[in-house]
Symmetry: C2
């Protein structure tokens, strides 16, 4: 993109940008801000005050709220972020919001075009009502996520990208499996323990334990008993930072993702693959768009099926796994796509002002390479215009 | 007010209007809608679909979310309410929002003037930041509530009003005390049991048990053990509807309000007084603006002090208590005040458009009658302009 834009990137106030440990949205925002800045755009990031970003930084709260232990209602601090953005909206050519449902209101009332990326699941009870008469500029992070709302005029599907070239590869490989995620039922942490026991391999667990009552209850009454029962084969490492997590992936025989919820993307998947470490997962959410079954790892429908696939991991080409994911899910590729979305939004606004009809923006670019086992091919085709 | 206005009343989506049982905000909205409609205004109420209001009704959700058991994040459904209002904003002369913190964003982006009533506590961690550069039209429901933010240019302090003329009086009076509220620590439900035991009188408890994990935990591990320990003197009635609650007040010797949090108003207080039933309370929040110490009941600083006052209740004039509160806290009086706020907001907008300076709206009208024991007289004076 030749023209330099004044771009606002709006992160939620819950984790710093970049996050110290867990925080997918904030990691993506960080990569995007850095790459846009490197390309010569004038980037302003709305994020917690302890964030570290190039360009201009507007602090929406002093520090990331979750690190402070805040587990209350999201509304007031999201409102506060909206206030800060709206107070300065006219300083930007385009606003890119990562505020989930609060983005929709921002898009409606902002005087400048808003691009909205949804990072979370969209199949929630309030979704249909909030998507009624949707604004333009809505971006999904996977075909699967977009497919939950086929009537929404998605501006694009933009797969997440990370700076993965520095990830470790081929060092200190062990026979152990690993699980990286959060101590919540939907991520399948207890199922991972079961798979390791069935496969007869050690398991190392790096997982964030949340502060809410429900999370603590699950930790104490479900996760800890399962851990104790498993004995010395399974080790809980607590929450790791990004470097430690990458080393864990690189040292592991395979990564387990037995979660059973519609994962909208799955950053753990591309992080593991970037280290050349195959992934054994349930066929859920966006994972079939990313993981090539039989090449990058294996899908299995329950603990028994996934344990069965563990020993077949030895046949996979770890170097080819790494090279493919570095090419398919780079920050550069993601940023190319977002620049195209920004450009299309600005052109649509320009045309609308000039009385020309609003053009629909771009479709999805990345082809799903999950082969014949890909879920809902018709819907994906319809969505991406292929 | 001579001129008929097109008024939007915006209720939160959590309880129906009027509420079936607990729901202070919704009770106030219901009274206000009815009285504005009776006075010839064209009223549109944004509220859950199971609401029953005169005039036009826009359903923001199918039914009140709490009745459905929703205990999740408030953000998406509040956003949805904002969307519904903004989509129709230009149909109104004035929008009166009861959405707490979400009102501030509505006020910033609405094309027509917004009056905002805060019904909850304002001394919360995000409050200073959200009140930075505040919009006009902000209304507090007590001097005490307003005093937590002396720099906010409050348009008015409007005490709540209820239709209290039909409340029962003088029938089936018993020797028992009562507690009406919610099963949460800040309402002092366990302290009420202690006071009853100390005073040697029966206690009847009508209280809503909430669905969240924290609320259930408190119910099971704190309230229920205290109830069992108290024995037959204390009876838990569950949640009562309005008629049953009024009968309970009317039959009670006195009502206990030993809560220890900054109660922004205290509807239970005026409901009890309307039945002629004195109240024994901690001197908290707005209660000193409503309860005349030694006339309507007594303040006490701990359980021992409140138990000590129980026997002095016999000296109070129950008929005078009832007559005073009916006069001071009527729906008509509240509606008079809100009509004045609407008028002032419209005039300010008109003047601003005509290039005239914006005038500050009205101050508080109701005098605190709590006498020399009134809390923070200086601050109240400063706020109300007295």
């Amino acid at each position: 993109m030749a023209r330099s834009l004044r771009i606002a990137q709006v992160a939620p106030p819950f984790e710093r940008v970049p996050p110290r440990a867990y925080g997918g949205t904030e990691r993506i925002v960080h990569g995007l801000v850095n790459e846009l800045d490197r390309r010569g755009h004038e980037v302003t990031t709305f994020a917690s005050g302890d964030s570290a970003v190039p360009g201009r930084h507007i602090a929406t709260v002093d520090e990331g709220l979750r690190l402070k232990g805040y587990a209350g209602d999201s509304l007031p601090y999201m409102q506060l972020t909206l206030h800060e953005v709206l107070a300065r909206a006219t300083e930007f050519d385009i606003i890119h919001s990562h505020l989930e449902w609060a983005s929709l209101l921002l898009a409606r009332v902002s005087p400048v075009p808003v691009v909205t990326t949804f990072h979370g699941r969209l199949d929630l009870p309030w979704a249909d009502a909030l998507f009624r008469d949707p604004p333009t500029g809505l971006v999904a992070i996977s075909e699967n996520q977009a497919s939950t709302h086929p009537d929404v005029p998605w501006a694009a599907v933009v797969h997440n990208g990370l700076r993965l070239t520095e990830t470790p590869f081929g060092t200190n490989r062990t026979e152990a499996l690993c699980f990286v995620g959060r101590v919540v039922p939907e991520k399948g942490i207890v199922e991972a323990i079961d798979i390791a026991l069935k496969a007869g391999r050690p398991l190392k667990i790096a997982a964030k334990a949340g502060p809410t009552t429900i999370e603590r209850d699950y930790f104490e009454n479900v996760f800890q008993p399962a851990l104790e029962k498993a004995g010395s084969l399974v080790e809980y490492l607590g929450e790791l930072d990004q470097g430690e997590r990458d080393r864990l992936f690189a040292e592991s025989y395979a990564t387990l993702m037995p979660g059973s919820w519609p994962e909208p993307f799955g950053l753990v998947l591309i992080e593991s693959l970037a280290c050349g470490t195959p992934v054994i997962a349930r066929r859920i959410g966006a994972l079939p768009e990313i993981l090539r079954d039989g090449i990058d790892g294996f899908f299995g429908d329950d603990e028994t099926a996934m344990a069965f696939k563990v020993d077949r991991v030895g046949d996979l080409d770890r170097r080819a796994i790494r090279e493919s994911v570095l090419e398919r899910f780079s920050v550069e590729r993601m940023t190319d796509r977002y620049e195209a979305v920004y450009g299309a939004q600005l052109e649509a606004r320009h045309n609308a002002r000039a009385g020309r009809p609003v053009v629909r923006v771009i479709g999805a670019e990345e082809a799903s390479e999950s082969g014949p086992s890909s879920a809902r091919p018709d819907r994906q085709g319809a969505l991406s215009g292929r």
